[in-house]
Amino acid sequence: MSSKSQEVEALLAQKYRHGFVTDIESDSLPPGLDEGVVAAISKKKNEPQFLLNWRLKAFRHWQTMREPTWAHVHYKPIDYQDISYYSAPRAPANAPKSLDEVDPKLLATYAKLGIPLHERARLAGVAVDAVFDSVSVATTFKDKLGKAGVIFCSFSDAVRDHPQLIERYLGSVVPPGDNYFAALNSAVFSDGSFVYVPPGVRCPMELSTYFRINAAKTGQFERTLIIAAEAASVSYLEGCTAPMRDENQLHAAVVELVALDDAQIKYSTVQNWYPGDENGLGGIFNFVTKRGECRGRNSKISWTQVETGSAITWKYPSCILKGENSIGEFYSVAVANNYQQADTGTKMIHIGRNTRSTIVSKGISAGHAENTYRGLVKVLPSAAGARNFTQCDSLLMGPNCAAHTFPYMEVKNPTATVEHEASTSKIGEDQLFYCLQRGISAEDAVNMIVSGFCKVVFKELPMEFAVEAQNLLSVSLEGAVG
């Protein structure tokens, strides 16, 4: 393989395709964080008193907390006073009331991203809520969803229009003091998406949010809350990009899912935040708390993620399996190249009887990257008959990368069955050689093999995302032949 190393080095200089900056006037708060800033955010959004109190409580708690150090990631300390906690694209009037009112430059940005807001062919059937920096700019397909009784809107609109739902469910899965980054988010979150699917309704289309961090020195702290009422079901897609900047930017989002009796939520993520350059300069710190609670009987929450971006990923989409017979799933592909660091995995907390969970994690490391799977399977004494199966495989490409597997299994019920399998190996030279001998280029061969390695996860993604994920994967691994 040594003959290839030069070629490899050259190819490793991967390009980040979404790294442009949009020139838009934005309305930002100056960097810094104190109770005044928290109050200012709340005021800018005309929030009810209960929400301001909630934020302040979270902020005060956050001040007593320490940044977690247990993850297998290394970074220079974050100066939380050097971040702007609010940045909104300055619209000519107030918030846009329809797509026509949205700043054309913004729309052009989405077009560049390949995420049109208009009802174009490719996205037919997908309703998009786009979060630009911290503010939700537009939501499509409102009417069609409205007819079905589905609420899909920006978090701010939900606060205004459905405060009772917000008050009831906000923080009910991820309490404001849950962890350092969740507490920070609870204090300063600026916008996000809200979904409520009423009892018995199957959401008639895939819902989708596209996140983008644009402004410099800005943190993004969005908050997503999805509630599937009794026997409701919804599939939600989330995509993320950010421009190339030399400094690190913080993204500390919180996603909460609630599934009531017989409800199903499928949450898919394709995360492609700017990962930094080939020397590890810049990139997003993606410190995200995602958690779903199967609150009702026979409910199901399924997380699928394809993580190719971010300088550092710290993310554990989890399921609390409270309802009897409820099901949690986690399917993940995490790719780390150059100097990226990923510490990602899941938590499956079995509380109810006969709860089941499946974890499939595929980690790919290349360049000088560190890729860690960290997953907890916990079976409480009440979870009779609980079952878990976990499989996590790591693929190493190149001699300087690292792959780690840190599973935690904690079982307190003797009728439970918990199984874990893991393997770590290099991309098979035999397989590579076989492809080369058949005239396939090294790069295509790697793509084929890696796709095969990840197939079991990709097949969980909705069709239109699977294609995008596949493309992202090959871009992320350009030239990473070991």
């Binding site: 490409m397 990368c401 792959a403 299994m409």
Partner: protein
């Protein structure tokens, strides 16, 4: 890393004050600097809390309030002669060495077989401090090593075993813990220095006698020279009141092989750590852990195996059983250093929960910094397979018999690895005695 003594300031805790006081009573000898360094590091780390990743499942908070004192020095005549002195049975030729509260009772000259020389650590510190110093340096700065640091600082005596050739009979080191008071602590320390090409089988058997069992902060440090072979057992058979904070460190040279058994049959709280470095090409390790939880026993086994050179190989086989309100923990980490190509590692850990109030926790971890490796692990926790049980019942077997057989089968992968037949027999006996239908099983063997 903490720069102050600790955020919770446990320097103020009676335990840490007691350790510092013990340190004041230690003689100033040639090893003072390395031992003082160890103490300082220990005090800096403080007592572990469950926020420490490697102490997540074991809470030692109650130790903080204890004002520890050195366990008394005792002689052979203080030891109850009825004590089951041998794990190996009377038929197996073997050599026994007695260590009471960390103090060795030296055997008569000429009673040792060929291929082995021993001396006490106290002696060695005077005669050849440089050799001893080599065995005082910690293998890594892993947090889990903190109790090894304390032992390094405070051990009073111990045994140095130099294996020079092929030792034809198993060697049994019997650790007797016999305290006078509730605050006793002992620091047994064993050094095994295996010369290139040597081979030996060594047992360390921990037993207790009398009303008070000192806290056992034991440490064994093994170095295997090129091509050396060692089969090492540590067996805990103390009572429910015993606490073991035991560290075993193994450093392996080229083509050496170590087979290591950690067997927890007793003890109230057992924290058994194993840290192995496969330092040179061709070194290999087969580690076996058999962890049995009963009553309210707490057994926490932590392994770290580092592949530090190319072409190294390791396997870890752990079987944990937890009944009653016990808790059994098996943590294992395999680290493959950058450049350690062709490393191979296998971890298999299986847990069997026998009661609704017991708990098993396991963390089979991999930390891989090289791409040319083959590493895998499998872990399961569950109950006896109901299909297997039904199959046996449908053939007319008693439920107790069927369950016992299945438990025995569950442990077979560890038991069959044991080369010393008599040791296997007595360990099996001890295990079987704890199963529901021990009678049939005795026949089965």
């Amino acid at each position: 890393m903490n720069t102050a003594l600790s955020p919770a300031a446990p320097a103020q805790s009676p335990a840490l004050r007691a350790f510092a006081a013990q340190w004041q009573s230690r003689p100033a000898d040639a090893l003072w600097p390395v031992r003082e360094k160890a103490l300082q590091r220990f005090l800096k780390l403080g007592l572990p809390t469950t926020h420490d990743e490697t102490w997540r499942y074991t809470n030692l908070r109650s130790l903080a309030a204890q004002s520890f004192v050195d366990a008394p020095r005792k002689s052979r005549s203080d030891i109850d002669p009825e004590q089951p002195l041998s794990l190996l049975g009377r038929t197996e030729p073997s050599v026994s060495l007695l260590v009471v509260n960390g103090h060795p009772v030296m055997p008569a000259a000429g009673s040792l077989p060929d291929g082995i020389e021993i001396c006490s650590l106290r002696e060695l510190a005077g005669l050849d401090p440089d050799t001893l110093r080599r065995f005082l340096e910690p293998l890594s700065d892993a947090d889990q090593q903190r109790w090894a640091l304390l032992n390094t600082a405070l051990f009073l005596d111990g045994l140095y075993l130099k294996i020079t050739g092929t030792v034809s009979v198993p060697l049994l080191i019997l650790h007797v813990a016999a305290g006078d008071g509730a605050d006793d602590i002992s620091y047994p320390r064993i050094v095994i220095d295996a010369a290139p090409g040597s081979s030996a089988t060594i047992f360390e058997h921990h037993v207790a006698q009398g009303e008070h069992t000192p806290l056992n902060n034991s440490n064994t440090h093994i170095a295997l020279g090129r091509g050396a072979r060692l089969e090492h057992y540590r067996v805990y058979s103390t009572g429910a009141g015993a606490t073991h904070l035991d560290s075993l460190v193994v450093r392996q040279d080229q083509d050496s092989h170590c087979k290591q058994f950690t067997i927890a049959l007793g003890g109230g709280l057992v924290r058994a750590s194993l840290e192995v470095r496969l330092d040179k090409p061709g070194a290999s390790l087969d580690s076996y852990s058999l962890l049995v939880g009963h009553g309210d026993r707490h057994v926490d086994c932590v392994n770290i195996v580092t592949h530090g050179a190319p072409n190294t190989r390791s396997t870890q086989t752990a079987r944990a059983i937890a009944g009653d309100v016990s808790r059994v923990i098996f943590n294992s980490k395999v680290i493959v250093d950058a450049g350690a190509v062709n490393a191979q590692s296998q971890q298999s850990c299986r847990g069997l929960l026998m009661s609704p109030t017991a708990e098993i926790d396991t963390r089979p971890q991999l930390e891989i910094h090289a791409d040319e490796v083959k590493c895998a692990h499998g872990a399961t926790i569950g109950r006896l397979d109901p299909d297997m049980l039904f199959y046996m019942l449908s053939r007319g077997l008693d439920r107790d018999t069927a369950q016992s057989l299945l438990v025995y089968a569950f442990l077979a992968d560890v038991l069959t690895g044991m080369s010393v037949a008599s040791a296997r027999a007595s360990i099996e006996n001890a295990l079987i005695a704890q199963l529901p239908d021990s009678q049939t099983l005795q026949k089965f063997r």
